[in-house]
């Protein structure tokens, strides 16, 4: 959508490492209607998606729960066979040559580990090295770097089941990169993490991105992940791609708003500041809504200059809200 299509007509990868063309995934859902009778219902989890991701790009893939994000990732890894359309990752059809593709991709499932639960991280990594036939020198260089950047040193001898969620996630991300994958899929890598762990994960992914060699597709519910890592964001809703472009574009299209929460020294009537509107007043605290595409700085300066300001914070719009606003019209149809 709005992106120029890269086509080389040869079926080769060209610049696009990931290429989807009219991809569908239909599930049959059965509902019991009687003792033996059941009703079949088709659910189109992914409903005709086409996009391309160029080598070295970091793309955010977002959408509400059940929109089809994970189903797409599963088709891109070869776990699921598409019901229609064509998928190519690094020139390989994932569902037909799953094990061959496996050497070239790295996958992190935020919800569950790909490591061996009862084994120390070091043993898991060693097994990864042998399974993927990573050259020892290269493995050591990659492991050293991951251990260094992700602070894994003290965790290497700890069995995975004893790691905290944040530690486990860092361990998982390292495991996915030890064999130098061309494509890295991150399915909610920051889900459930505390602020510090999230920051560590993002900082690490920023490094991976800066190196420029790995193509990253990232699904998340946290807009900050996207803001800090992705120059491009795709939004999927009800199995369809509804936005493909930069984050600012998403906010502009969605007309999303951020909220400045201000605490004044005393109770005031609803303040009137240009560029924002007061949406809520509760004692000395007021909520000022302003467009997400605008900077908060001039607004804060304005408020501070005019009123006795004690404290303030900015609330980012949740992706769900942005999308809800984007497609509120369609949903009501």
């Amino acid at each position: 959508m709005g992106r120029t299509e890269v086509r080389d007509g040869t079926g080769g990868t060209g610049d696009a490492v990931i290429r989807l063309d009219g991809v569908c995934k239909v599930f049959d859902v059965y509902r019991r209607t009687g003792l033996l009778r059941r009703e079949r219902r088709e659910v189109r989890a992914v409903d005709g998606i086409s996009f391309e991701v160029a080598r070295g790009e970091t793309v955010g893939y977002i959408g509400p729960n059940g929109a089809g994000k994970s189903t797409t990732i599963k088709m891109l890894t070869g776990i699921l066979v598409p019901s229609g359309g064509s998928v190519r990752v690094a020139g390989i059809d994932p569902s037909r040559e799953r094990t061959r593709l496996a050497r070239r991709i790295g996958v992190v499932f935020g919800q569950r580990t790909t490591l061996w639960w009862d084994l120390p991280l070091r043993d898991s990594y060693d097994l990864v090295r042998r399974m993927y036939r990573v050259e020892p020198a290269r493995f050591r260089a990659n492991l050293d770097r991951c251990v260094d950047l992700l602070d894994l040193g003290p965790l290497l001898e700890v069995p995975v089941r004893q790691l905290s969620l944040g530690q486990r996630m860092r361990g998982d991300i390292a495991a996915a990169l030890l064999h130098d994958p061309e494509v890295l899929y991150l399915d909610e890598p920051t889900i459930g993490l505390d602020v510090i762990s999230k920051a560590k994960v993002r900082q690490f992914l920023a490094e991976v991105k800066a190196a420029g060699a790995t193509t990253v597709l990232l699904t998340t519910h946290d807009l900050t992940d996207i803001e800090q890592l992705c120059e491009r964001v795709m939004v999927i809703d009800h199995g369809r791609l509804v936005h493909d472009g930069d984050l600012a574009g998403l906010h502009a299209v969605g007309a999303s708003e951020r909220v400045l929460v201000v605490d004044f020294a005393r109770e005031l009537p609803a303040v009137d500041v240009p560029g924002a509107r007061t949406v809520r007043v509760e004692g000395p605290r007021q909520w000022l809504s302003f467009p997400a595409s605008a900077s908060a700085a001039p607004l804060v300066a304005e408020v501070a200059a005019r009123y006795p300001l004690v404290d303030l914070s900015v609330r980012e719009p949740a992706i769900e809200e942005v999308i809800a606003r984007l497609y509120g019209d369609r949903a009501s149809l």
């Binding site: 066979v81 050497r103 569950r112 790909t114 043993d123 042998r130 399974m131 950047l149 130098d180 490094e207």
Partner: protein, 298 residues
Amino acid sequence: MADAGVPRAGRPVRPFPPGEPVPPEEPAWRRPADGLRAYGLIVGMWTRSALAYRLSFVMMTFGNGALTALDFAAVAIIFGHTTRLGGFSLAQTAFLYGTSGMAIGLADLLLGSMDGLGQRVRDGTLDAMLVRPVPVFVQVAADRFALRRLGRVSQAALVLAWSLSRLDVAWTPGTVLLLPVMLVSGAAIFSAVFTLGAAFQFRFGDASEVQNSFTYGGNALTQYPPTVFAKELVRGATFVVPLAFVNWLPATLILGTPQPLGLPRWVDWVSPLVAAAVCAAAAVAWQAGLRSYRSTGS
């Protein structure tokens, strides 16, 4: 972390290079060798990790052996009250017990983790196996490989050795050859049943109890002489789930006992063929199960 992006002295900065071109898919004939290699890797890792706690490993193996030893005591107690069971002596029954126990023990040692597949399907951890460059079958089979399961094989081997020392067998080159052949075929038949059971779990997540009734139930069945069971059960174990080929049928040749169903004598020799057939059926079922998982996502 702050200097993360800055090149440091003494370390080559080669951050996350792209993977080198991957060679084309290996020819089909290489795949079994690759699978075996991967099986060896996973098994080796679990064994090393179990041996890290040596005392615990020894105790588990000993406990495993002791439990199965008690199991044979039950057979011995029956013979405290009678000298013959369905026309079989204690030594002959011990032969059946030993061969059946070794067959399932070997299958359990090699593929014992298969019944955990349903759990993996339910909690989604199977997906992690599907993104690795190793066949899923190998990963599921080798998962949590436990060398302590050797306890069961050794106990069955001891019972078998004891029975052979007590039996008066007129050994011929044929029967000497038949003994290892029936053990390997028996292990293959039980392995196929484990695999079939697992294949169903792709679709019906909680089928592991059904599987257990055929594997461990089949083991309990073939520990005893076929003559103590109803003909229908023996028929079922011959023609439906071919557990009779684990030991009942080939054993008649070694023990010189009558054919339970009065089948021709050549049937004593077909265990390897039956094993190959059920293994082929299991392979087809496994592929079908995996395909259905990959199209439904469960």
